[in-house]
Amino acid sequence: MSEWWTYEPSNFLLFAPRTYYRLIEQYHAAIWPAQLVALVVGIAILALAHGEWRWRGRAIAAILAVCWAWVALAFHFQRYATINWAATWFAAAFMLEALLLIAVGVIGDRLRFAATSDPIAHAGLALVLLGLFVQPLLGPLAGRNWSQAEIFGITPDPTAVVTLGLLLRASRPVDARLALIPLSWCAVGGAFLWTMRSPETALVLGAGLVGLLALAVRRPRGSG
C-alpha cells in the first residue's frame, strides 16, 4: 500500500456501525439459545480455574479451543465475511488459535492453574470477569439493543479478552504462542471498535495493553 501514512483507521472501516451491530443481532437470533450455553461455559471455566481437578488445564484449553473455532466459523467466516473481506483472514487466525490451544493446552498439557497470590494472576481474573459479565452489558448500557450484545464464546472481542485473562491467571510459565493471536485481536478489534465509536473500545484495547505488559514483565519461575 503506497503512502500508507496517509491512511486512517476509518479508511479500513468498510461498513457502517449499524450494519455491524445488525449483523450481530441477526447472528444472535440465528443461534439462540447458544448464548445461554456460552454463559454456562464461561461460568464453568471460572469454576475450573479455581478448582482442584488435575485435568482442569486441559479442560479449559479444550473449551477455549471450541469457542475460538466456533467464532472462526460461525461468526467470522459465515457472517462477518459478508461485510468485511478481511474476515476470512480473521477466521483463519481464530482457527489457528483453536489449534494452538489443542496442541499446547490439551495435548501438551502446558496450560496449568493453581492457587496464587500473584498480582498478575489477579489482573487476569479481572479480565475474565470483565469479558464474561461486564462486556455484554456495555453496548446495551450505551443505548444499543440487548440483541446486539457482545458475548464470550459467541463474538470475537470478549472471547479474546477472556482468553487473555485466563493466560494471565494460569501458572507460569505460559506459552507465549497462545497469547499472540488474542493480543493481536485486541489491537485489531479495538481499532475497529474505536473507529465505530463503540463503548467497548476501552475495555478491548485496555485488555490488550494489560495482557501485553503482564506477559512482558512476567518471568518464568515454574508453576504455582
Binding site: 496517509t6 468498510l14 461498513f15 457502517a16 450494519t19 445488525r22
Partner: protein
C-alpha cells in the same frame, strides 16, 4: 479564481452544456425543479447527470434483507429523480451484490450508467475479478471500469483498453482518493487515452484544482468526484451552522446541495458521487442536479464561508 487554468469561456461552454439537458429530465422532477443538470463525457458527448450515487460503506450491508431493501429504495429514488451513474468497487464488501439485488428489483433501469473498478494485484487476476463484479451487478456489461487507486495500473489499463476495443466496456478510467499519488495520477492522465478519472474534490479539499482538474479539462477527460462530503464528516461539521442566506441565490435548500453545487459547478467536473443509505438524503443530493449553479464568484464565497465555520 478558484482554478486559474480554466478560462471563463470554458465555464460558459460547460454551463451551456448544462442547459441543453431538458430532454433528459424526469417529468416529475422537472415540474418542480426545472431541467436536470447534465454534463457531457468529453470522449463521446454522452450526457450524464451531475449527481451520481456512490456505494462506499453505505451499500455494504451483507445479507441483511431489510437493509438491502432500504438500499433498493435509495436507488429507486435516485433513478426517479433522474440519476444515472452508480459507482462501486470490489473493495466495498457486499456493495456490488447489494446493487445487483436492487437493480433486479427495480427492473434493471434503462438509465443506469454502471461504473465499477478493478482492484487486485497481480494484474493477471483482473479479468476474473471484473467478471465476478459483473455477475454481482447482474448487468450485461459495465459502462465504465476504473483502476481502483492505481493498484497494478500498468497491468490493468492494457486489459481495460482491449476490453473497450472489443465492446466489453464503454469507458476506461483510473481513480484516487484523498489526494493520494497525484503526481503519478497526472502522469497517467498525460500518457494514457483515458475517458474518466475519479478523484477527491470538495469545498475543503481543493488540491485537484491546481493541476488535475485543469489537465482533465485540457485533455478531454471526464471527472467523477468522490468524497464530496468527506464521508459525511463535512456535512456533520457544517450542519451545526445555519445555511447561509446566499444559498437561495443558487436554489439550494440545504447544506448537501450547497456543497454539491460547489463541486459540480467546476467546469472540469462531470459528476459527484455522494453515497448514502437514506432516501431523504438521496433526494436532497439529487436536488443539487436542478436549478442554478454558482458562478466563480459564488464558488469563492461558498469556500470562504465554509472555511470560517
Amino acid at each position: 479564481m478558484l482554478s486559474g487554468a480554466v478560462s471563463r469561456r470554458a465555464i460558459l461552454r460547460s454551463l451551456t452544456a448544462l442547459t441543453v439537458s431538458a430532454l433528459l429530465r424526469p417529468p416529475a422532477a422537472a415540474a418542480v425543479q426545472g431541467p436536470l443538470l447534465v454534463r457531457p463525457v468529453p470522449s463521446t458527448g454522452e450526457m450524464l447527470p451531475v449527481v451520481g450515487l456512490g456505494s462506499w460503506v453505505t451499500f455494504n450491508v451483507g445479507n441483511d434483507r431489510v437493509a438491502r431493501d432500504a438500499c433498493t429504495d435509495v436507488m429507486r429514488n435516485f433513478f426517479a429523480a433522474g440519476g444515472r451513474l452508480v459507482d462501486s468497487s470490489p473493495m466495498y464488501g457486499s456493495s456490488q451484490e447489494v446493487i445487483g439485488y436492487g437493480l433486479e428489483r427495480l427492473g434493471k433501469p434503462a438509465a443506469l450508467f454502471a461504473a465499477d473498478k478493478v482492484w487486485t494485484s497481480p494484474g493477471s487476476r483482473g479479468p476474473a475479478q471484473m467478471e465476478q463484479s459483473r455477475e454481482h451487478w447482474k448487468v450485461a456489461r459495465f459502462d465504465l471500469l476504473q483502476v481502483h487507486n492505481l493498484l497494478a495500473w500498468p497491468e490493468h489499463l492494457p486489459t481495460l483498453f482491449a476490453m473497450k476495443a472489443a465492446g466489453q466496456v464503454r469507458y476506461v478510467g483510473i481513480t484516487t482518493s484523498e489526494g493520494r499519488r497525484h503526481a503519478e495520477f497526472e502522469q497517467i492522465m498525460r500518457q494514457q487515452p483515458l475517458d474518466f478519472v475519479q478523484l477527491t474534490y470538495n469545498v475543503l479539499d481543493r488540491e485537484a484544482e491546481v493541476r488535475l482538474l485543469p489537465l482533465a479539462h485540457e485533455r478531454g477527460i471526464a471527472v467523477i468526484v468522490n468524497r464530496p462530503f468527506r464521508q459525511g464528516a463535512l456535512i456533520r461539521q457544517v450542519s451545526r451552522h445555519p445555511l447561509p442566506a446566499f444559498a437561495v441565490e443558487i436554489d439550494c435548500a440545504n447544506w448537501a446541495q450547497l456543497l454539491l453545487k460547489f463541486i459540480v459547478a467546476h467546469p472540469a467536473v462531470t459528476c459527484a458521487i455522494p453515497a448514502t443509505s437514506s432516501v431523504a438524503h438521496v433526494r436532497e443530493n439529487m436536488g443539487a442536479a436542478f436549478g442554478r449553479l454558482p458562478d466563480d464568484g459564488m464558488r469563492r464565497r461558498i469556500a470562504s464561508h465554509v472555511e470560517k465555520l
